[in-house]
């Protein structure tokens, strides 16, 4: 009798082993057999991570469709709140008012910073808080005053829906005014490419988006990079949130869960953010 149990146990073991052998492929198996759509919009800092996650999931399971749009944090909150999308991303914590009004569930999956950037050809690489304030209000309007070339400073800012703008405005320039003459761009990606093309431009962007096409500006003596944000030395930090209205639907939940798996957190780190785990 014991022998039979043993054989059965072995058979079950083998069966389990076989059926799960593909699970070594990783956490994407959670999506097996799923079907449907996940709609995402809002924060633009999130887009590279969202895209990569979507690519992996949609490759593993072509029956799932994940749509990703930008718009900014404000859009993310409104659209998820109105039920127009499943996930609304924000580059800031939604306000208590927003959470209450739309019954938002918050998923914080990464820490990010907001950094001042200039063109790599610009010699000015370090600014104090007061200087940053004066540049953005238009009080300092020439690079010469900061030790650079004798050229007017071209300010780049984001639209009102941007969470990056809000964090920058609060923590970097202490809610100072932003000159009306500032050029307005619509996303972190657009900010980076605008400043990378304008030798006299200055703007602010998610630390995760900084690459060699733009130069980060040392702010109050601290260089904006992953380590300084992590250690808390660089103070213009913020969380990257994905929000759902109430509890997420099953497929949406699986997508969010994926961000917290090792695989997901690896993608987040690879995109220059600090994974929460």
């Amino acid at each position: 009798m014991k022998k039979i149990y043993g054989i059965v146990a072995l058979a079950v073991f083998c069966f389990v082993l076989c059926s799960t052998s593909s699970s070594f492929a990783g956490p994407l198996d959670a999506f097996k057999g799923e079907k449907g759509t996940v709609k995402i919009s809002g924060g633009t800092a999130h887009i590279p991570v969202m895209k990569e996650a979507a690519r992996l999931i949609m490759t593993a399971n072509p029956d799932i469709q994940i749509t990703i749009a930008g718009g900014g944090s404000g859009v993310g909150v409104k659209q998820v709140g109105e039920g127009l999308v499943d996930i609304g991303n924000t580059g800031r914590k939604p306000t208590d008012d927003e959470i209450k009004r739309y019954d938002l569930k918050l998923f914080l999956w990464a820490i990010d910073g907001v950094a001042l950037i200039v063109n790599p050809n610009n010699k000015v690489r370090s600014l104090g808080k007061a200087q940053a304030r004066d540049i953005f209000s238009g009080k300092i309007d020439n690079w010469k005053a900061l030790g650079g070339e004798d050229r007017k400073i071209n300010i780049y800012t984001r639209d009102e829906a941007s969470g990056t703008r809000e964090v920058f405005w609060e923590k970097a320039i202490a809610k100072g005014t932003i000159a009306k003459s500032a050029n307005v761009v619509v996303s972190n990606g657009a900010m980076k490419s605008a400043v990378s093309q304008d030798p006299y431009g200055i703007g602010y962007v998610s630390v995760g988006h900084i690459d060699k096409t733009v130069a980060p500006v040392t702010f109050d003596g601290v260089t904006p990079e992953i380590e300084t944000v992590k250690s808390g030395k660089y103070t213009i930090a913020r969380g990257l949130y994905s929000n759902t209205k109430g509890n997420p639907a099953p497929l949406t939940k699986k997508f969010l869960d994926f961000l917290f798996t090792d695989e997901g957190q690896k993608i987040i780190a690879a995109n220059g953010f600090i994974p929460v785990k």
């Binding site: 404000g74 109105e82 050029n183």
Partner: protein, 286 residues
């Protein structure tokens, strides 16, 4: 006696006409409805005349109206002389064999998507303007106006040419009889007789510049200031709609873009009425 089929068909055609013409009204009605809270008690005047500063509770679209007018007027001012020159060339002054091809090129130009003008504008025109101006980011009123002038000139040229061709042949033959050369025919016969058509083309091209979104959105800089010079960054009404669409649907911010929509709609209507007035005048003249 009319058969049943005839009646049904006529009703169907009529219904289609009613449906399609009502779209014109529905769009306007919807804009009005959405902007309604702004239209009462003089608020609309404040919106039309003040600055955009949502942080301070000011949702004015005055800078965008100025930006729109500045960019469209400038683009028309740039492309009008060039278009007159081109239509003179294609119409009479240029070599005849060449002109057939030139006209084809101009026709095909009307098909170039505006997003492509914007795309090329960013990478080709913006750096040039930045260096030539010696200040600013290169995204400015003049950059958008230059690109738009390329966009609208085919419209003008084709319309001008069309009105040149409407000048009665007998006038030209009379001029020939008097021994007039090509330039004289253009200046003394064709241009004066095509004056109305030229004005119509001008107005239509202006409407096209006014209504374009992508070029301004991509290369005018989108600053919310009233531009003080052609090298300043500016935002048009159309770009403003594209940028603010994202706001809270209940907010004044969101409602205010419907005010932009109404302003653009009214501009359009004025343009169409102007052109129709001219066209009816032209018909009567004959």
């Amino acid at each position: 006696m009319r058969s049943m089929k005839e009646t049904i068909a006529e009703r169907t055609f009529l219904l289609s006409a009613i449906v399609s013409s009502s779209i014109t009204l529905i769009i306007f009605g919807f804009m009005l409805f959405m902007a309604l809270p702004l239209l009462s008690g003089g608020k609309i005047l404040r919106i039309l005349s003040s600055a955009w500063s949502p942080g301070n509770g000011s949702y004015g679209i005055f800078p965008m109206i100025v930006g729109t007018l500045a960019i469209s007027f400038l683009s028309v001012a740039i492309s009008f002389p060039v278009s007159i020159g081109c239509s003179g060339f294609i119409g009479i002054l240029g070599p005849r064999q060449l002109n057939r091809y030139l006209k084809k090129i101009v026709q095909v130009m009307t098909g170039i998507p505006t997003v492509i003008y914007g795309f090329v504008g960013i990478f080709l025109l913006v750096p040039i303007v930045r260096e030539l101006a010696g200040r600013g980011s290169g995204m400015s009123v003049i950059t958008a106006a230059l690109m738009l002038s390329v966009l609208i000139s085919p419209t003008m040229i084709l319309f001008f040419n069309d009105s040149f061709e409407r000048v009665p042949r007998s006038y030209l033959e009379a001029a020939d009889g008097l021994g007039a050369n090509k330039v004289q025919k253009l200046v003394y016969v064709i241009l004066p007789n095509a004056k109305k058509g030229i004005i119509m083309g001008l107005i239509l091209a202006f409407g096209r510049a006014l209504g374009d979104t992508l070029v301004a959105l991509m290369i005018a800089g989108n600053a919310t200031q009233v531009p003080g010079s052609i090298f300043d960054s500016a935002r048009t009404l159309t770009a403003h709609i594209a940028l603010v669409i994202a706001a809270d649907y209940e907010s004044i911010e969101f409602k205010s873009i419907f005010a932009c929509g109404i302003v653009l709609y009214l501009f359009t209507t004025a343009i169409v009425l102007g052109v129709r007035y001219l066209a009816s005048g032209r018909r009567k003249m004959r």
